[in-house]
Symmetry: C2
Subunit: 366 residues, 2 copies
């Protein structure tokens, strides 16, 4: 299947397409490549779908985002469970394939086990088993297995212009480990919460859903490319960003949009809802103790208009999602170069909001 050119503009999508071309697809698989956070396939003899997803945490360790093995374990579990959440699935359990650093295998394993178990416990699920290996560089691959009623499944596809776009919580917590890794003073440990409970309230209701494992901007950009829409984030950044990330940006003199544009995400869900259902959904969510964060609206694409715009802070900032997402490759894994390049890109994005067209002057009273 040829790759949608909008998807192919992002290096990562183009590379992943290689797998899609070379690996035969399961004939009953529900999702196409790129179209969901977890793989969905009918579960023989039931009305449910099996939802499965696998993720490796390795580059994040090498880049110094996590200070200890316990954080690595927590994030590895949260990342996989977040993918289950994004398809609306309930977890059956997890598997973990662990590559321990040769020199400190036992100590690393102890911390890892604490983090894996704590994150599984917090989500009400279990590590079913795994595999242990030794190598020079540590890495953890976690697989989550879940199930979802076929009619309730969520995918990344189905959003249309006019849909309201939400996040399951405030965004930007994923920026904190990155800021610490480049030497900025950041307190606290990274303990993201996969939004499994909230996902159950979205299942069968949201028009599209994807987690922010790569940060908000990459998530919106991917949803835009998959659905042929744009997104206007109309909420002020202060209303949608976690205070700690905003404070860290302010203290470092950084553009607060950086916290949402960098690619280390926080595992919130970004989802869309038909405009006519938005009010009822917000009420239903509220009754169930869930306060979604309204980001803005999906828009029709206009030639030259820009697919991704932030308009909540007195300027129209148009972001080039492909440029931003390809920056990592271009800066070859050097974090400081990456941060500088992203800052420069964002600095070029601002344009003051042009005043609204004047209403025709009312006929002056005589």
């Amino acid at each position: 299947m040829p790759l949608n050119p909008a998807l192919g503009a992002v290096g990562e999508n183009a590379f992943l397409a290689l797998w899609g071309e070379r690996l035969r697809r399961h004939p009953a698989q529900v999702n196409a490549l790129h179209e969901s956070d977890a793989e969905l396939v009918p579960l023989p003899g039931t009305d449910r779908l099996l939802a499965v997803t696998t993720d490796t945490v390795a580059e994040e360790i090498a880049l110094g985002f996590y200070r200890d093995a316990e954080t690595v374990g927590w994030v590895a579990v949260a990342a996989s469970l977040s993918d289950l959440a994004a398809v609306g699935a309930e977890p059956v359990g997890l598997l973990t394939a662990v590559t321990l650093p040769r020199e400190t295998a036992r100590a690393f394993a102890e911390g890892l086990a604490r983090g894996l178990d704590a994150a599984a416990r917090a989500a009400g699920t279990y590590i079913l088993g795994g595999d242990t290996n030794l190598a020079d560089a540590p890495s953890v691959t976690t697989t989550a297995i879940g199930t979802v009623e076929a009619w309730e499944k969520l995918t990344r596809v189905g959003c249309v212009a006019g849909d309201v776009v939400y996040a399951s919580g405030r965004l930007g917590a994923g920026a904190l480990p990155v800021m610490r890794a480049i030497g900025l003073p950041v307190a606290g440990e990274f303990r993201p919460t996969p939004r499994l409970r909230e996902a159950r309230l979205l299942a069968g209701r949201a028009s599209a859903c994807m987690d922010t494992s790569d940060g908000l901007v990459a998530t919106l950009d991917q949803l835009a490319r998959l659905n042929g829409v744009g997104f206007d984030v109309t909420a002020p950044l202060a209303d949608i960003t976690v205070p700690a990330a905003r404070a860290a940006c302010r203290a470092a003199g950084l553009d607060p949009l950086l916290a949402l544009a960098q690619p280390h995400g926080e595992f919130e869900l970004v989802f869309t809802m038909r405009a006519e259902r938005a009010e009822a959904f917000e009420r239903y969510a509220g009754e169930n103790g869930f306060a979604p964060v309204r980001l803005g609206v999906a828009t029709a694409l206009v030639a030259g208009g820009g697919a991704l715009r932030f308009t909540g802070d007195g300027a129209v900032r148009v972001l080039d999602g492909a440029r931003i997402r390809n920056l990592q490759d271009e800066t070859g894994g050097d974090l400081r170069r990456y941060a500088a390049a992203l800052t420069a890109l964002l600095a070029g994005s601002g344009a003051p909001i042009s005043p609204p067209p004047r209403a025709p002057a009312a006929a002056a009273p005589r």
Copy 2:
């Protein structure tokens, strides 16, 4: 749960026990730690069990066992499907988390995809999805997902003294890549076949089952420790070893038992069957085109008797399974040192079969 001391004598078991102590177990999980090749957990709303297993291929690549990325992909899929076979499960599909070498990512991915797809295709199943990462050293973690009727599941536990022990095919093909890696002339590519079809004939019939992913000796040793039995391999080595492995040993002047004692396996199944059912099973297997290889018999443990004996070639060779399995740690990943140490251990194992006690002399005819 304290570790069975027989299991704990093997360093790998002792290390894995760490996970068992620190990770809460799923309350409905069918298998305990060590007791099956795949994790088994009830599938909500069905009479079936979910069978899941994850395996990383990394050390084997670092040790030079596989000459190309295609072989890596094939083995990664075969290893995980073999674990499904060993519990009697039918595959739903596979996930693969791939860490590509930074410098040659695209070429490696191309070869890998060919191998992954070919092995999945040969087994009639599919790669459902995965995750792609970059690092200095390549590795592939493959997860297989399958299902099995609860009453048909196979585990490593259930064998008793007197059971007949079989392999699903001749053994020792796993030794060939190792022999090539230490410089011996070995032809052909390593393309092990997971025994999914044969497993369906064993499901609900075998008393215990485990795959030879770590070679025959480690497999029999683990089954012995888990079940509190010993094993006498009464078949001549020539009858149970693949001809190529036997020929390679002969050409290199090596003990032919080395091909079955080294730890890189061939993904056959080793299984046991109650003695009174053995004949009927062999007939049933034969009618279905499956010719199991009879290895010998499970024995009661006798103090000082040795749990693992090879008696088919004119001598009783008693192997110390724990010593053999711990050799890898002791030789620190150096293949030539390992091969020399294993050769020395095997050389000490032989004892000529003592002549059978003389029958009382018949009364001489007068």
